[in-house]
Symmetry: C2
Subunit: 406 residues, 2 copies
DNA sequence: TTTCTATGTTAAATGACTTGACAAATAGGT
DNA sequence: ACCTATTTGTCAAGTCATTTAACATAGAAA
């Protein structure tokens, strides 16, 4: 990135440094000392001292022990975890994950339930509410202990807090999801796209820690990407940046749910993988998948399990999906030139069997300076990437609010 | 864009508002009043008054007349054009454009000369120097009148001021272009990719004025894109973001100069277009291009001229290139979700004959929320887009330097 | 003219930050 | 054990960008 037009952060220009201090503390694993803060922010130690003591007064930050080679030991700071809890909710196409985390983003309780986004908001949101009540009581907490909620949905999120023209999620278009959730829980809610959240989660606590140019690709029923750029999410003009699932890979490919032909999702999405497996079984290929009855109940997770156990047909299907993903990612790498691509989502759980063909195809199909500087790895947080991103977003609301006014 | 990690502008945190004022003045056509500045920057009128009087003292800003409906007329401010000149240099594959502009970016002299980037830096840079001397003397100026230089090259630019692994530009890899030019001219030089500069030029003074998410695509011998995001150029991890010319459109397509198959550039670049025309003529198609002798001397500008005059074969070639460009742009639109795409470069001079197939293909192949919110137009500055972007970058150096210290 | 409205300026107050001195905490040498 | 060097953290005074609040200026409408 290179600035050619100097503008200021939209809202709170005031206390800008305070906010930066809060974020450096929370995103530096193992904490950070005042001297290190002053170095990274180009401020004097004195300035940092006043900012930090202010944050200590409000109870947001505390000191911990640490050891260094010579001279006075720096006092290491960390976010005070004891000031409350937040919720992270990741609504997927077929599953919902809910996390309760303390102020230092440590997960204290986790829940993963079947879920059908196709039921629409009138069914899904009440269900979320009751699941939240359930997990809260399991954790011995009430909604009053929750300071903010982060939520993710598998579609393009717009400013108002809803989705706009999502390729999946029928019945959700234009529904005020954020307002609904805020009304249900009575706390501030942040709504984001699930791939964005995956990127944030992996950036903050996963494989992409601290990367300045990170792309996260979520391979599940749908395929989406989250793009991070110097601490900002690339949202685009209408919130639909990163919709890699519907770029054309093969002009004459199969028809996609979005109406076009040969979209990445129609070639490498969870549905495409299971359809391919069903075809192979019907064609009489020798595979342990043929044990599944009826044939058309084969799901992508069955193929992943079979591939792990050494089933050649399944491995081939996964590998072909990897080549398609690699083709799309090569375009992304050429256009966006990330320093790291993190592959996550349900299908990615299989690891190198998917990653290797991706890596190879990206290196073949993208330009040298870009392909040389990109590392491609799988998500460290596994299925929790997006839900952890939701936690990060919820904490962003709370911590910055508290940093501003006590 | 959405911030999840608060950081500060890298260098001069001090005088941040002063810099923002300078840029709002220079990029608001027709000037801007103090009250409007205070509104856009969320500062009080009093604060703006002191900042502006400071800038007036250094002679950077002056007041002009303007008329408004009721109440006291606001005093409109503009950059004082009389404090000096800058150079904008756009090195293309086959041409070089040099502009002299005053501090308000008004071009006072222009030059366009044949040029061959393949000659390498040892030939090209001395040639630039002598051309600069020539245009300066034509304008009645000397190098002492120039405060800064902006330069563009058709390859990925890295931090140090050189290019890294460019698909074209043999012999330039790693050469310290910026340092060389700074030594030659004795003034600060800004080096950028030519597509980036096209984006900046069109954003500042062309078709993309003030767009927050702008993509500029330069279609010439090579094909590259410049991506602008809230006043920042998207450079990526190694400076090669926006390299759209080498994304794969057709896995079985023709071999590209980069070694891969079916790159956009190999299907829709200037070279691909002329090769296609040569094939058509050899195949005996009825076209006015067959008047050109020898056949293999047909250049893309001949095809554009013929298409303009109604030659059907040429029109078909251009239209097919448009479909390929549209396919690549659909991927870009899905991934980046720009509010506007500006098509520039030599081949784009033909206008709607190229634009229409692009528009249609993008709308077919990109996702609804993204395709609904993107406008696709041709460059307003024509061949000068990149050189104007270079002028903008040169002025950025000078104006912000002067804003800082007298 | 008077009145209204919007823009621009001024002086005092505020507050974030720097400067420069000092205090605190540790390692290593004697 | 003591001294010195080194690094980290704090304090008080001063600086400077910005706000507050009052006032001045300039035009339109009544």
């Amino acid at each position: 990135m290179s600035t050619f037009f100097w503008t200021l952060p939209k809202q709170n220009v005031k206390n800008l440094n305070k906010h930066a201090v809060v974020d450096l503390i929370r995103f530096t694993s193992g904490g950070i000392s005042r001297i290190e803060l002053s170095r990274q922010m180009n401020l004097t130690r004195a300035a940092i001292t006043t900012i930090v003591s202010d944050l200590q007064l409000t109870g947001l930050v505390r000191e911990i022990e640490a050891h260094y080679p010579s001279g006075r030991r720096p006092i290491v700071l960390e976010i005070n975890p004891d000031r409350g809890y937040v919720l992270g909710i990741d609504m997927g196409a077929t599953h919902v994950t809910i996390l309760i985390a303390d102020f230092s983003a440590k997960v204290v309780r986790e829940m993963d339930e079947p879920f059908d986004i196709n039921d629409g908001p009138s069914v899904c949101l009440p269900r979320i509410e009751s699941l939240v009540k359930q997990i809260l009581s399991e954790a011995g907490l009430t909604i009053k202990d929750i300071s903010a909620v982060g939520a993710g949905v598998p579609g393009p999120v717009v400013e108002g807090g809803g989705v706009s023209g999502p390729p999946i999620m029928p019945g959700w278009d234009g529904y005020p999801i954020r307002d609904d959730l805020e009304a249900r829980f009575g706390v501030p809610v942040s709504l984001s796209n699930d791939a964005e959240l995956g990127a944030i989660g992996e950036w903050a606590y996963g494989a992409g820690r601290g990367e300045r140019n990170l792309a996260y690709i979520k391979v599940g029923t749908g395929i989406g990407a989250g793009l991070l750029l110097d601490g900002q999410i690339l949202r685009g003009a209408s919130g639909s940046a990163g919709e890699i699932g519907h770029i054309t890979i093969d002009e004459n490919g199969p028809i996609c749910s979005c109406g076009n032909r040969g979209c990445l999702e129609a070639l490498a999405g969870g549905r495409a993988i299971s359809d391919q497996a069903i075809r192979e079984v019907r064609n009489g290929r020798r595979t342990i998948l043929s044990e599944i009855n009826p044939v058309d109940k084969i799901r992508s997770r069955d193929i992943i399990a079979a591939a792990r156990r050494g089933d050649l047909v399944s491995q081939q299907i996964v590998s072909e999906a990897g080549v398609h993903l690699g083709t799309a990612l090569a375009s992304l790498v050429n256009l966006f030139n990330p320093s790291m691509v993190v592959v996550g989502g349900g299908v990615a759980q299989i690891g190198d069997l998917l990653l290797e063909p991706i890596r190879q195809t990206v290196h073949e199909r993208s330009l040298l300076p870009a392909s040389r500087s990109v590392r491609i790895t799988s998500a460290l947080l596994g299925r929790r990437s997006s839900a952890m991103g939701a936690v990060v977003q919820a904490l962003s609301i709370v911590l910055h609010q508290l940093a501003d006014h006590g």
